[in-house]
């Protein structure tokens, strides 16, 4: 992992963000409804529309609007929401914080469950435990978030009444209640992750356990436990990290739906609201922030991969 590699990766992130900013700007600029009409709604008279267009700079040529927007973004100014008249940045970053909390809890739960499940399934390959894990992971991978969420709400919130169905309470306001409200969203998001990662761990581990290297270790008389944890697992974890990094993109998409269903005011929900109300600055900023998050997560995963990879080689 040379500095040159890291620099190249950073340059790539910059390029990525540039492309994303272009795409997002292009898509949002040609949205069918006039932003000024959206802003004024039922009361739009021609004079009022013209005044608003001028105020928002909607009359300028597109490239000027783009450069103006990009210039603002680089300086950390994401513009002013058309819907609320508030600055876009702070609201979105606050929402991003809530989304990251959801993502963090989901990843923790995933790690706590997916690794043991994958390991058990690999060791007990072809037996009941393997089958059970396989079925669970199939169901997990195959259920869209809105179906998982619906079923969880029906069973855990409506029939058993163990958990609140939807809604959000900030942890700072009421820690216990806040956690309870997070349970269902976290379960929904992590189910797919668990399914995905446990399958990956299992198949990688199965492959590794069949390599000559492991056979040799076994022949040397090392205990199963040592073979598994010292040699097998570490090698199996490498590809898993890549998968987890890729899953973060998936996670971000899933978060949009989950936040919408559970009325959790994270960045996904903000984005949906912004898209539905044609609040262009919020849409642009939201999409850009999401893509940035993904790019950074990927970058970190790559670095971690390179770092772990080297350690393994030196072992």
């Amino acid at each position: 992992m040379s500095p040159a590699y890291v620099l190249k990766r950073i340059a790539l992130i910059c390029y990525t963000l540039f492309v994303v900013s272009l795409i997002v700007f292009a898509i949002t600029q040609i949205l069918p409804a006039d932003a000024a009409v959206m802003l004024l709604g039922e009361n739009a008279t021609q004079e009022a529309l013209a005044a608003v267009r001028e105020r928002l700079g909607l009359d300028a040529p597109l490239w000027q609007q783009y450069l103006h927007w990009l210039g603002g973004v680089v300086q950390g100014d994401f513009g002013t929401s058309m819907r609320t008249g508030q600055p876009v940045g702070p609201a979105l970053f606050e929402a991003l914080g809530r989304s990251l909390l959801l993502a963090l809890f989901s990843i923790l739960l995933m790690l706590a469950l997916a690794l043991p499940l994958g390991i058990v399934a690999a060791i007990r390959r072809g037996r009941i435990a393997d089958l059970v894990v396989g079925v669970i992971s199939y169901i997990g991978v195959s259920l869209p978030e809105f179906v998982t969420a619906t079923l969880l709400v029906l069973v855990l919130a409506d029939w058993l009444q163990w958990l609140p169905a939807t809604g959000y309470v900030p942890l700072t306001e009421n820690f216990g209640r806040g956690l309870l409200h997070l349970v269902l969203p976290v379960l929904t998001v992590s189910l797919i992750l668990i399914a995905h990662v446990s399958r990956m761990v299992r198949s990688e581990l199965v492959d590794v356990l069949h390599t000559d290297y492991i056979r040799a270790a076994r022949l040397k008389g090392l205990s199963n436990r040592t073979v598994l944890f010292k040699h097998g697992l570490r090698n199996a974890l490498l590809p898993t990290i890549t998968i987890v990094a890729l899953d973060i993109g998936y996670l971000l998409g899933g978060v949009i739906v989950v936040e919408e269903i559970f009325a959790l005011p994270g960045i996904g929900r903000q984005l949906i609201v912004a898209i539905q109300s044609r609040d262009l600055p919020s849409v642009q900023a939201g999409a850009l922030i999401m893509a940035t998050t993904y790019a950074i997560a990927n970058f970190l995963a790559d670095i971690a991969y390179a770092w772990l990879d080297r350690r393994i080689q030196y072992d």
């Binding site: 709604g41 609320t84 508030q86 609140p164």
Partner: protein, 518 residues
């Protein structure tokens, strides 16, 4: 005073019906308890803080806490004093004089005088402001300050309802100085004369206001604080009330009403209202410029089933007239019932013996627009109508269909007066002339009624106008919604207002059992 068990008292008085409640309640009311924090939930974000630009009920709720108007709307839809203590009118109904309360100050300490009132109304009437109030406050030609506490409105046509229309949700008084420096300031701050002052404003999450000790009424408001919490999801909103996280839900959807009202410690609130969902015809375009086509479609509608479909039975049947018994000048015309044979004949007479295919547009907000459209589609099918339902985002709808389209679904709050709803939607010069019905006879009746003070004469004129609509069907109005809300038992003094956009939370107090909140 002998204590009456509050709950059984309320139940008894509710059973006596609307009129009895207001009469009895005054006698039984001990002085409301001061203090406490009320948490009230709303179902949409409060995007607009600027009171001149608010557009949806949650925004009206917040604006009402922070700002005052000249008048405000009582539960019976009459005007009662707010910043104006009293008013008089000239005999020809063309000049109205309002006497302002003295010594009222804005939240920033500056005095609220006639100059502020004049400036506020000038801003409202300026098209550039794009205030919804502009078309709804009445035919104001000129407004002038006679002295520091007297304002004179000169009208362009005689108008008997001015004190009521001045209570319009957007007709709030803001400081002249703020108007001069630019309206944008009001997007983030609140400088009003209302019963509460703004503490914090998070459009998507919550708005906190605290008691305005300088409010003109020394007794009100009773609460120290009001927290307006945004719950875009009705299930979450209901659960929060049931759990005691909130004290009051401002609007409960019909589908949740039964579940929420059943919960212990919770009381469902319901009031008949003139809020309705309708199907607008573009009366200036084919095929709906032919009155027979409109009549034919109206004859396919099973109105009782429609009340079930769109209101879950929590509403009243509509008769294609925008008034119902919640309005003072409602005329009870013969109920329309489905008659498919007659509908087919009318359609054939109009030149469509083989049926007619049309596209009905429904915006996606609120979802019951689509609900209505889908139900109409099926009801009209046997009479030969092929209705394609097309949904679209509300923004696109406003931009491309609304007021222009030939066939689309509308949705309205109850207005304070018959004149207000007619002049908003159905006269030729209506602010939102959705149907372009442009019926000269109807215009004449409405114009005459608005200049008439004599109650019986006015009632007769409005009855004729309603009969005309009943026959010509510029729009199908199949059902009216009852307004639904819910509160904890410990909330006292909250009355569900049939207007839908009026809340009067300054009359609310917290009784025994209310949780202590910081």
């Amino acid at each position: 005073m002998p204590t009456v068990d509050r709950r059984s008292f309320l139940a008894a008085s509710a059973a006596l019906g609307g009129l009895a409640i207001s009469g009895l309640d005054v006698g039984a009311q001990t002085a409301p308890r001061r203090g406490g924090t009320l948490r009230v939930s709303v179902d949409q974000a409060v995007s607009k803080l600027n009171p001149l630009l608010t557009r949806v009920n949650p925004e009206y709720l917040v604006a009402e806490l922070l700002y005052s108007g000249l008048t405000r709307l009582a539960l019976d839809m009459s005007a009662e004093p707010d910043l104006a203590e009293s008013w008089t009118n000239s005999a020809d109904l063309l000049e109205w004089t309002f006497n302002l309360r003295k010594g009222v100050t804005f939240h920033d300490g500056s005095p609220c005088t006639a100059a502020d009132v004049v400036a506020s109304f000038e801003a409202i009437l300026d098209a550039k402001t794009a205030s919804p109030a502009r078309q709804n406050v009445g035919p104001i030609a000129k407004i002038a300050a006679k002295d520091d506490s007297t304002v004179v409105f000169t009208l362009s046509a005689p108008f008997a309802d001015l004190p009521v229309t001045l209570a319009y949700t957007n007709a709030k008084i803001v400081p002249a100085a703020v108007l001069k420096s630019g309206l944008e300031k009001l997007d983030r701050e609140a400088v009003g004369t209302g019963p509460f002052k703004l503490v914090s404003f998070e459009p998507e999450r919550q708005i906190v206001v605290t008691r305005n000790d300088a409010y003109y009424d020394k007794a009100r408001p009773y609460l120290d604080r009001v927290v307006v919490v945004v719950y875009p999801d009705s299930t979450a909103e209901g659960s929060a009330l049931i759990a005691g996280d909130t004290d009051l839900i401002s609007t409960v959807p019909p589908t949740e009403f039964a579940r929420i009202s059943k919960a212990s410690g919770v009381k469902g609130l319901r009031v008949a209202s003139g809020q309705f969902c309708n199907v607008n015809f573009g009366c200036d375009q084919k095929p709906f410029n032919d009155v027979r086509v409109r009549q034919a479609l109206a004859l396919t509608v099973d109105r009782n089933a429609m009340v079930d479909f769109v209101t879950e039975g929590l509403g009243t049947v509509g008769n294609d007239v925008p008034l119902n018994s919640a309005y003072r000048f409602f005329a009870d015309l013969p109920r329309k019932a489905p008659d498919l044979a007659k509908a087919k004949k009318l359609l054939a007479d109009a030149g469509y013996p083989n049926g007619l295919e049309v596209t009905l547009i429904a915006s996606d907000r609120p979802p019951l627009r689509t609900q209505l459209a889908v139900a109409l589609r099926e009801m009209a099918k046997p009479a030969g109508f092929t209705i394609n339902v097309q949904t679209m985002p509300h923004a696109t709808y406003l931009d491309q269909v609304w007021k222009k389209g030939s066939f689309y679904v509308g949705f309205y709050n109850m207005q304070p007066t018959a004149d207000a709803i007619f002049a908003l939607l159905y006269t030729s010069n209506a602010a939102w002339n959705e149907t372009r019905w442009n019926n000269a006879g109807f215009d004449k009746l409405v114009n005459e009624a608005r200049a008439t003070v004599d109650e019986a004469r006015r009632r007769d004129l409005y009855a004729q106008a309603q009969k005309l609509m009943h026959e010509e069907v510029p729009s199908i109005i199949p059902a009216f919604f009852d307004l639904l809300a819910a509160q904890r038992d410990w909330v006292e003094g909250y009355k569900l207002h049939p207007r839908g956009a009026v809340f009067r939370l300054d009359y609310v107090s917290l009784g025994a059992g209310a949780p202590k909140r910081g």
